[in-house]
């Protein structure tokens, strides 16, 4: 194919237009001076100001950050442990467990959301009727749901790091006087760290991003930013939505860029190592 031909360029422009025009319009209108969604009336930060003084939105932001942070950290610990377990399995069972791990990734969010919601209602009701409490779906169920869907992402980003490990270094550390746990902490963990941090960032992004699963599991009193935006859009059409969506988009974008930079740096490092090894052979 001819490089940089007119048609291929046009095609690229169209693709990017379809992909990013909506977001571009959103960002532009978040700085609009009037309420109108069609007329540009000059630059203003008023919707951002209003946003930060809106108690409901701020509350939702706090919930989102708290849930995302807590969920991604817990998922990181659980996911890393799971990845190590999976790695230690025999090849056949490893394949099965990995397929099971991948189901939630491809499963429709709405199915995950509804099923988690059903499970939580069932569990909470059973708990309440036995202990006479009056618990309901809320922050904790939301958190558990987020941990649940974050874990597979962590596993997927830690496993490749495990594969790159020299299978003998754990034994080497023990050989040099480290107990099993010390060997893990001093030798395995530092090597897995890049993968774990990547997993953390991906999980955090997924959590911030999520609407459907949160919607079904947060109950009626708690809401995340995504849920709040949805509610606002249904109540009244306010340019505040544009502002907050812009912020959400920007923060997720920054996280994604961060992940990509880290990954490409690690890939480069791995490539260089391989090149060095190849010359040594």
């Amino acid at each position: 194919m001819k490089k940089n031909g007119f048609w291929s360029r046009l095609f690229m422009v169209l693709v990017f237009l379809f992909l990013y025009a909506p977001i571009f319009v959103l960002i532009v209108f978040s700085f609009n001076a009037t309420k109108s969604r069609s007329v540009w009336a000059g630059f203003s930060l008023q919707w951002y100001v209003k946003l930060f003084s809106d108690e409901a939105i701020m509350e939702a932001l706090r919930t989102t950050l708290l849930v995302s942070a807590a969920a991604s950290v817990v998922a990181c610990i659980a996911g890393t442990a799971a990845a190590i377990g999976i790695y230690a399995l025999k090849r056949k069972s490893r394949g099965i467990v990995l397929s099971v791990n991948n189901i939630p990734l491809t499963n429709a969010d709405i199915v995950t959301g509804v099923s988690l919601s059903l499970l939580f209602v069932l569990a909470v009701n059973a708990f309440n009727s036995t202990f006479g409490t009056r618990w309901e779906l809320g922050f904790w169920t939301l958190l558990i749901a987020h941990i649940t869907f974050d874990i597979p992402y962590v596993i997927l980003s830690v496993l490749p790091k495990l594969r790159q490990l020299d299978p003998n270094i754990y034994e080497a550390a023990q050989d040099l006087g480290a107990t099993g746990f010390t060997a893990f902490r001093k030798v395995i963990l530092p090597d897995l760290m890049p993968g774990i941090v990547n997993g953390l960032l991906i999980a955090f992004t997924m959590s911030i991003d999520d609407f459907v699963i949160s919607y079904f599991t947060a109950g009626s009193k708690v809401s995340t930013l995504a849920m709040e935006i949805y509610a606002m859009a249904r109540r009244k059409i306010s340019p505040e939505i544009n502002a907050i969506s812009t912020l959400l988009f920007a923060s997720v974008l920054i996280l994604l860029i961060l992940i990509n930079i880290r990954q490409s740096r690690q890939d480069r490092l791995a490539k260089r190592q391989k090149a060095i090894l190849a010359t040594k052979k």
Partner: protein, 396 residues
């Protein structure tokens, strides 16, 4: 005479019904350079791992200095290991790699008169000992390099230093030179032997390379199929192999069916030959080993046997000649050239024969009919061993 340091007694090992070690009995002396030699899958690495404490034998006992250590974990044994692919810690520099064991160590507090309180080694002490090691492996100035910025030979030396800095009583080496090229391997063989004599501790060395074993060892343990085939000095093993497997695995051997007519007289090809072996029953069937370099080529009429040259290969120092003696092909190494198709006679001195009792390996080795293929096999001996932990591809 040096004293016994390690003893393996009736050790058996099975993985998923597969018998890897068969009733192994072995003792290792203090300050000895002992090599476990055998083809891949012979159980040599498993034996090493049992000594290191990474696996426990299914049955049998391991003794260290007279104490049973079956249940002692690796971090409590006075044994250190140099792993096959070095297993250096990639996130630590050379200094920290070598210092790792020292940082794990606790010694009695000199300030505590009861001697019960344990403290870590001081930073000064660690630096001093690491520097001392860097001196021995001549890698001074490389302290801050990460392992991936070192050549294979340098990584190798760091792995040795990292083990030796702990002043173990025994150093285990699992095919440590396998990944190096030939030239470097020869240098490292010398260096390892030198280091062993310098530090004066026991080395237990695992290899499938018979030449490496002959060059470095005080004692060689030849293993196959989970059993010890022979234990002895390199000279013993080469000159007096116990069975056809050992004779074939160590160096080149022509192994011919024979009958021991009486002491010092062996019969093969229907002819009686003078030899120096004795102690067999009258007319006992035996395996006769004749090393290729012990055979002289003479004119047919002066020879003890006559055969036809079928293949000649120039090897630099000598010619490898394949000679057909009534259907059985011998390898002869000689400095004289004989053309293919020539009728030649051979003469063997009495001490050129080595007589072995018949064993399970009789008839399986020592015929050079498939000469060329055999050499192909030899050239790719770098076999992947221990693939259990690896599974699928390492990197994508």
């Amino acid at each position: 005479m040096s004293k016994e340091l390690i003893r393996l007694q009736n050790c058996c090992m099975a993985f998923d019904d597969e018998q890897v070690l068969n009733n192994l009995n072995l003792y290792i002396n203090d300050k000895e350079f002992l090599t476990l030699l055998g083809p891949s899958g012979c159980g040599k690495t498993t034996t090493l791992r049992i000594i290191g404490g990474f696996t426990t034998p299914t049955s049998g006992d391991v003794f260290f200095d007279g104490v049973r250590i079956n249940a002692v974990p690796p971090y409590q044994r006075q044994i250190n290991t140099v792993f096959q692919k070095y297993a250096l810690f990639p996130h630590l520099n050379v200094f920290e790699n070598i210092a790792f064991g020292l940082r794990m160590k606790k010694v009695p507090d000199p300030a505590d008169p009861s001697g019960k309180r344990m403290v870590k080694l001081s930073e000064d002490e660690i630096t001093r000992r690491v520097d001392e090691m860097l001196e021995i492996i001549s890698l001074k100035g490389f302290e801050n390099r990460k392992p991936d910025a070192l050549s294979g030979g340098q990584q190798q030396r760091v792995a040795i230093a990292r083990a030796l800095v702990n002043r173990p009583k025994v150093l285990l080496l699992d095919e440590p030179l396998g990944a190096l090229d030939l030239k470097l391997r020869k240098d490292m063989q010398m260096e390892l032997k030198k280091i062993q004599q310098q530090v004066g501790i026991t080395f237990v060395y695992v290899t499938h390379d018979q030449e490496e074993a002959l060059t470095m060892s005080d004692t060689i343990v030849v293993m196959d199929k989970g059993s010890i085939q022979q234990i002895g000095t390199p000279e013993d093993i080469y000159n007096e192999p116990k069975n056809a497997f050992v004779a074939d695995f160590i160096g080149e051997s022509n192994i011919i069916d024979g009958i021991m007519c009486a002491d010092s007289i062996v019969q093969m090809y229907g002819r009686k030959f003078q030899c120096v072996d004795s102690g067999f029953a009258p007319n006992e069937p035996v395996d006769v080993v004749i090393r290729p370099e012990d055979i002289d080529i003479v004119p047919v009429e002066q020879g003890q046997l006559a055969g036809t040259v079928t293949n000649v290969t120039f090897k630099g120092m000598q010619y490898d000649i394949i000679v057909d003696f009534r259907g059985f092909k011998w390898l002869i190494q000689t400095t004289d050239h004989s053309p293919v198709g020539a009728k030649i006679g051979v003469k063997i001195d009495p001490d050129g024969f080595h007589i072995m009792k018949k064993s399970a390996y009789s008839g399986k080795f020592g015929d050079y009919s498939s000469y060329s293929e055999e050499y192909d096999e030899l050239s790719d001996t770098e076999e992947p061993e221990d693939d259990a932990a690896e599974g699928d591809s390492h990197e994508e």
